[in-house]
Symmetry: C2
Subunit: 445 residues, 2 copies
Amino acid sequence: MTAPTKVTPISGFPEFLPAERLLELHFLDVIREVFELHGFAPLETRAVEPVERLLGKGGDADKEIYGVTRLAGDDSGRDAALGLHFDLTVPFARYVLENAGRLSFPFRRYQIQKVWRGERPQEGRFREFTQADIDVVDVGELAPHFEAEMPLVIAEAFARLPIGEFRIQVNNRRIPEGFYLGIGLSDVAGTLRIVDKLDKIGPEKVTALLLEAGATTEQAAQALALAAISSTDLSFVDAVRALGVGHPTLEEGLDALAAVITVGMEQAPGVLVADLRIARGLDYYTGTVYETQLVGSESWGSVCSGGRYDSLASDGRTTYPGVGISIGLTRLVHLLVARRGLTASRSTPAAVLVAVTDEESRDASRRVATALRARGIPCEVAPSAARFGKQIRYADRRGIPFVWFPGAGEGGDQVKDIRSGDQVDADATTWECPDADLRPGVVTR
Amino acid sequence: MTAPTKVTPISGFPEFLPAERLLELHFLDVIREVFELHGFAPLETRAVEPVERLLGKGGDADKEIYGVTRLAGDDSGRDAALGLHFDLTVPFARYVLENAGRLSFPFRRYQIQKVWRGERPQEGRFREFTQADIDVVDVGELAPHFEAEMPLVIAEAFARLPIGEFRIQVNNRRIPEGFYLGIGLSDVAGTLRIVDKLDKIGPEKVTALLLEAGATTEQAAQALALAAISSTDLSFVDAVRALGVGHPTLEEGLDALAAVITVGMEQAPGVLVADLRIARGLDYYTGTVYETQLVGSESWGSVCSGGRYDSLASDGRTTYPGVGISIGLTRLVHLLVARRGLTASRSTPAAVLVAVTDEESRDASRRVATALRARGIPCEVAPSAARFGKQIRYADRRGIPFVWFPGAGEGGDQVKDIRSGDQVDADATTWECPDADLRPGVVTR
């Protein structure tokens, strides 16, 4: 097990130190708890899919796929070529088709897993990262109320996380579609792709691109006017109507978005924003689309996105419409660590270090630890019977708040809070570890 | 997102249905909780390592490595060739070297992740599976008490899991080493490899192989006599001494194993067995070695194994000795599902389905759900305002025990236990969900 090669990080494959991983686990636990409170069933799919299933999903996705092959072996050719999944939606669609007869629909599932994309690595953009997804999928038809539910689940999870204020921006694809058709722009997808660049290149360049694509000055101005509309209440509807464009698809979209915002206003006031510039890059969204920004960190881009697709999966006869949303967890946590200095208050789950007076009495320390653990208090027995000053430093270096001294008191043990220096008599079968210290907290460096 | 190819499972890449995944999650939660109670810090390493770091670990490992390459791209050749890790020990050793300056030693970590091995798939043997590892690593020297601690952590986790009785078999590599040297068999590794086949091929064939390798009839008989010794107490020491072989390495080994068994007798009576036939295939173990069998399912082989290595990692100047143990989680859960019929009592985390009287009152149902969730009760709002019989069947099909009817009582709501049929008045802000129903239980099909 010696090291044959130089040990260096691999660009785009991030790893955390223990305190940072504890922070990430806190995020994972909160997200999972909220997903489960909302009745999403856990699912995990294999990391690999047949390459042909991964190809052709649009954009640069094909180039970014990692192929997987055995270095040596005699069965190459017998199996289909495999690749690592680059999201959790494609594998979920395949899983639904594969297990349709054994699932109950509408099927609600959450999935928290690593995905891999061979992108050019940069801060907050990785080649290996964790996504946390929820989706609801049904057979044939999917009730529209699920489109209102998705952002509310995210709002509940995010409200429990130390990320400050956030906004979930919601749009409905039918609004720009109907609007563009209403003003005579028939290349809806092309127009959407150009308007989607608004945040990156600004309105002048978007106008130039629209004109280049054949729009009139008037049409370009109208498309930009639509994209400028946003509201946390239903006033966006009147703002669109004031532009004087009529089209049945536009009306459908406005009604659908108004329904989502109405539920949001009741359940998560101020969090949902109808924002008519949100388009999402992926071609398969057909209804509501979501993006999420942290207030004050808008430059990080969206940390949670998704939408509705009329055909999440299809086997040729049956179509499975779905709606889903995905938290870019690795991206979110890495940016919080790097830019806001978040980390865990200690580098171990242990709340208590049980000191060892001498190696002969290690058994006594072990019994204290067993008693504390039986009551749910994470602890560790000191690795050596060094002098107590050294044992306290051992705890301090890891951020462990309490050191337990067996037999230190008159006829019993004592426990020291090494932050305050307070040392009191204590019994391992009754001592109450303060709630705030039972698990590592979130702190700012 | 339609399906371009036939949907078929990939041999060796298992996937669970939701109820089975809930069972697996229960195992993961218990194991993680016990690891954290013992102060192991969580860690996750990237899925890939440079291929040269993965090669040369002995056995068939090289042939089983999966290489990872971008399907298309312009930076091939710039990066080292990458492969998926096949265990969590090699990546952990690399992580320790890479981060030695930022870790506090002795460093205790747990790691629960997928690993990949291109083995021939068979029942309980997969190409993608989850391992749950704990290791303690120190700089230069590692205190022997950690070798006693590892199996106790596993014993505590396994005692909380629905797996029945189990035995952790413990040996110390120095016992057979010193014994073989003491009887004049100098090829210790070769002899160990042959004796390790005892369970598979039986004593006659092992004797034949030993004779073939140059042992005398007397030496072969002695080697088999040693391997036959086992005890849950310290009597194995006298049984070895009765064979009349003396060697200082043998004495060291007996002392070390006696120390581990002594702690085991106090902390987990009857669970640890000194079993002198246990060798473990991997060459890098140098002290205590562990295997674990479920009583009544010995044919499954070991479900949790590990040992001590004097050099987990080394950068040429500093050596990091370690001791660790690894639960083969996917293997364990799959066998329990397939052979003992274990599964979860429902296919969703939801304990309650909140019925919807008509679509106009969906808001009222949503408010009930919000109140239940605020009190930690997982629930789901019915997908449609179908007649109540159909909504109850929806819950029944998923194993959801309770259906909530807003406004069904005199001036309030009612909740029905659909197993017993009992329906009572209830208030979402005070109703107590029975503890046994709050999370899915483990049941036998």
